[in-house]
Symmetry: D2
Subunit: 352 residues, 4 copies
């Protein structure tokens, strides 16, 4: 039984970790860390867990935690883990970080986009970017620190990855227009996230400056072995869960001037995703819908070629709290401990 | 492995059966019956099941089905099962009926409220009303036919049962005001159920004539060993899942004119629900919320005593597709086959 | 042109006052009071008003305001107006108070339910309860202070008024089960009102102790010329606007033991509402829906007689920000200044 | 008083026409055409209009209508008006067509994208494309036929128009990613538009083949005096009203290689929209939100320059039933009859 500690157990991502791990056959939560609710029963914060979880919330004492558990999930604000992580802790315990602290290899890029100083850049190099489908072989029993990808990033990267990797699209023309449910904004009491402000409303935000941009660029850059600079625009949509990414890029024409065919593009997706449990390449003509993955760890992707414009429209859908956060974090934990990757994650999407 | 057939597998309740049974360790769906989609892949009807269920939809041939499976779930319109059920079928297979056909013991009452003739009244007597918490001991290996309770009924009965049973309330004053998400209205293409008609809207319907009324009355009548005639008013609310019942009744004063105390009423609830896995009596002061049970088989109940009016306000919340339909049906299946009652039903409520 | 000042112009009710008054042909807002946003453009707080309102938010200086305007609307927290209102102010300006400070005639009742001391009880007697359809003749050029009714109260009272007034129901059996959209909870940044907490969720709250209870009781008591003690239960529903009240009471049987007929009950409603612009008695069989009144000042009411239980189910729907707050406040202003009661309020309900 | 007839008065756009025209000071609806509801009271189809509109629905007899009214609005399926319009009718009455029949000048393009034969191409030339802000001077007392623009088109064109017109962007790089509320899908009873299918869900549809594409291309082509071929991707979002367009294009660099400045781009928008009543160019940094224009005829637009990618992100928001359909149609009517363009359209956006 893997002993698990969660720091930030009472945010939405933390709550989703608890929901998953409660039914995980090889893991057991030993520490519900939540500095806002210390001493409160966890079920008083999330009443859905009444009679399921009886433990109290504890403080965020990572040293103490490192003594008691095998793996720590940190679902904490940006900069928090970087400010407390030490070599000593990493010697004792594995860490899966749901914040952005170790996702970006270039510390200057991190500091510029996040507007904060990175307090422990010495661990960035070692941290593995935990996008399991792509970096699976780097997430092993030897790995100490996993940077769990962002929600928008997971969706955006997996949507575009095969075509970037296979060199089928001109990355300089790549644009990702993403739409997210509101749980991505967290459980903090902020006026713009009130029901009446979000409901029956829609808007773009973080236009040209959202923090997930450099993360997408870096990872797609690795895939394409090139510099990627793209536009990423997130939108807020009146629903609880779900991210939909719609990406646009020019297909690279063949020597004869023709576009890659539907079959060729499909083949590229199939090459990377056919054996993936959690990535579902939809049938031709089907557009991903967020509801079809809700509550599950699936990523649904598909594409349409527009002969008129020479572009491919790539689409992907995830549950932002699952594959976009807690689900992927557990997937990483499974890899770290040599368990079947899908263990505890075979939750069937809930419809309607 | 229990072999399962579903007639009506493509309605919302049928879809929920599939979601649950897909992960049930002792059951296997052998027949996805759906007369509207014969020959279509099931996942083409519910895309959430893509790469999870690969079977095609079959017709509703109950005789054939009876040969092939151990249990049939019928998630069909009222009157359908009654028109096709035979002794021969019941000799071969157990049936859990999610329609109303065998819920009401008095066929005249059924025919009056449903406005249709009952085609096989000979099976009514034998059918067990499958409200597991109350009729558990009647649902056994010998049972052939289970009448799975209605969604509103399940919620309403469990909310009031202990106080009726213990004689703490005057049943002549009982009123149940219930509110439901829209999945209860089914997947049929009807204008009043369009998104734009339901969203940002609320209404009562079926006032004084909703078909779940006699079912609630009959079952509470058994509990109280008396005639029960009550008002039941359902409302449509803009959400997918969830039923909330708010019930009102006069508490019966003690000989000295005083009301039963909070502790006494709580004790009555505890007497019947303390050992129940799926019924959660909330802490004093907590009102049930539908979101806390969403996606799960739980029923959350609580009450408030109003000293001013001498009434008790009883409240209950369920997921109408789970405890209100498919979840309870699987709970019944587990009982029928001697499995642990909660098998396959330990789904943690999903929040948010 | 009536000069209008608003204290609390940036809450949802204040915003709705601005929306209405912007198009009112005889009124002009001179003071957008909002202590949280002093110095900010009003449109920066409500971007829907961009290029419509160019004024800045001002502080809540009621003395200064009294010099400059003809009528002040106070859309402020309970107790605020009571703590600042003076004879001197009332000599200069009319006040329409959207808070509860002067709604309840018995100061002890107010202090008990609201849990605060009333700082200016000397004005309670003089304040007119501004439920226009009932107290119209008391709202005149001589009136200085109007207590604008609460949202739940307006809906509940108008739903039941004719039957209480005509003595058709036993008020001791009266129960009001009400459901409200979330704008009633205000624009304050509170976690329970976040989108993800309210959306896809439903709950009762304030059970047996909601503050609108004594207000409903007092007004229905005047109507029935009797003491009224009832159960009022509010529920939170995932929509922006709208209140639906479902009320239950025993019909008083006639000497021969028969119930009042549909026609007789309808006649009672018609007697009070037939000439009312803003109250619509629906056709038999139609249940009020909140969407049908959204954005308008209408109250839709109807009823069903249940012969089985001898009860009448009364139903009413309003837009809580319109007839439940700002719309009724403007209706009161119109009466105070001798204008046609519907002036500026002929907004057609918006569907869908 | 302008006498108005509506063919298709019971669709959502038709209903919105009725809502607006009911309060229009110079127009009067004489004919509520609805072939599905002939003989029914209009308010039985839209209960919000109870006691506001007392007329019955009539058939779609356009010849008869042409005798009785001054202007006909056709809110009908594609191809319908084209199949019944005659010279004789146009001699008697003005027609504002909310369908696509006369929007596209090239009949071959129309027939290809709509997949139907155009039955009266002889009127295409004469029809004025009624995007008032751009074609205002062509909509006069002499105009007989106005092709009212599509909802997505109105939003997309106005969002991009100034930059195309001023030659600031490379139109070959133009991509419009649009998101719409569900009322755009109409009131027909279709399963994919059921509440439970749309709610908590999001998807793209009509990818690379949505019919509004050639309309946007044609109009932007006129603006830029060039061929425009672009990607337009609509998405369905769980809300009733509102369209948000997010458009991307490369800014054309100046001779010195620098990008146009924020001020220059803003100046281009201001040049075309500063005097427009219904187009609001937001302050720098503000992203349009659909809720800010809900229920009104406004278009909110703004942009962000991304120095990193050299692109400009243009954003626009409308209410699809107002500026995207009925509001613009009335705006056209006002122009046709020499009335102030904003008459009857000064509806303040409703928030929340």
């Amino acid at each position: 039984m893997i002993k698990v500690g969660i720091i930030g157990a009472t945010g939405y991502a933390g709550g989703e970790l608890v929901r998953i791990l409660t039914n995980h056959p090889e893991a057991e939560i030993k520490w519900y860390g939540s500095k806002s609710y210390i001493g409160k029963k966890y079920y008083e914060v999330y009443r859905n867990m009444f009679q399921i979880v009886d433990e109290e919330c504890l403080d965020d004492n990572i040293e103490e935690l490192a003594e008691q558990v095998d793996v720590i999930f940190t679902a904490t604000p940006q900069g928090y883990l970087a400010s407390i992580l030490t070599e000593d802790i990493l010697k004792k315990v594995k860490v899966v970080d749901l914040s952005a602290d170790y996702r970006i290899k270039d510390v200057a890029v991190y500091e510029k986009w996040y507007g904060i100083e990175h307090k422990s850049p010495q661990f960035i190099e070692e941290a593995v970017y935990g996008l399991c489908e792509i970096n699976r072989d780097k997430i092993t029993a030897d790995t100490r620190l996993v940077a769990n990808p962002g929600c928008y990033t997971t969706c955006s990267i997996l949507t575009c990855y095969p075509l970037v990797k296979e060199g089928l699209i001109d990355v300089d023309t790549l644009i990702v227009d993403a739409k997210s449910g509101t749980s991505g904004a967290g459980r903090g009491a902020k006026m713009p996230n009130l029901f009446c402000e979000v409901n029956e409303n829609m808007k773009a935000y973080g236009v040209a400056n959202h923090r997930h941009t450099p993360e997408i660029e870096e990872q797609l850059g690795y895939a394409g072995n090139c510099e990627v600079t793209l536009n990423f625009t997130p939108h807020l949509v009146p629903m609880n869960r779900g991210i939909l990414a719609t990406a646009y890029a020019k297909l690279i024409r063949k020597a004869d001037g023709s576009l890659p065919t539907e079959a060729q593009v499909r083949q590229a997706y199939a090459k990377y995703f056919d054996k993936e449990k959690f990535v579902r390449l939809l049938d031709k003509g089907e557009c991903p819908e967020t509801k079809w993955v809700e509550g599950s760890n699936y990523v649904d992707v598909n594409f349409v070629i527009d002969e008129r414009t020479g572009r491919v429209i790539m689409m992907g859908a995830i549950d932002n709290l699952m594959k976009g956060a807690a689900g992927q974090a557990v997937q990483n934990m499974n890899l770290l401990f040599g368990l079947p990757e899908e263990m505890g994650l075979e939750l069937v999407p809930c419809f309607p």
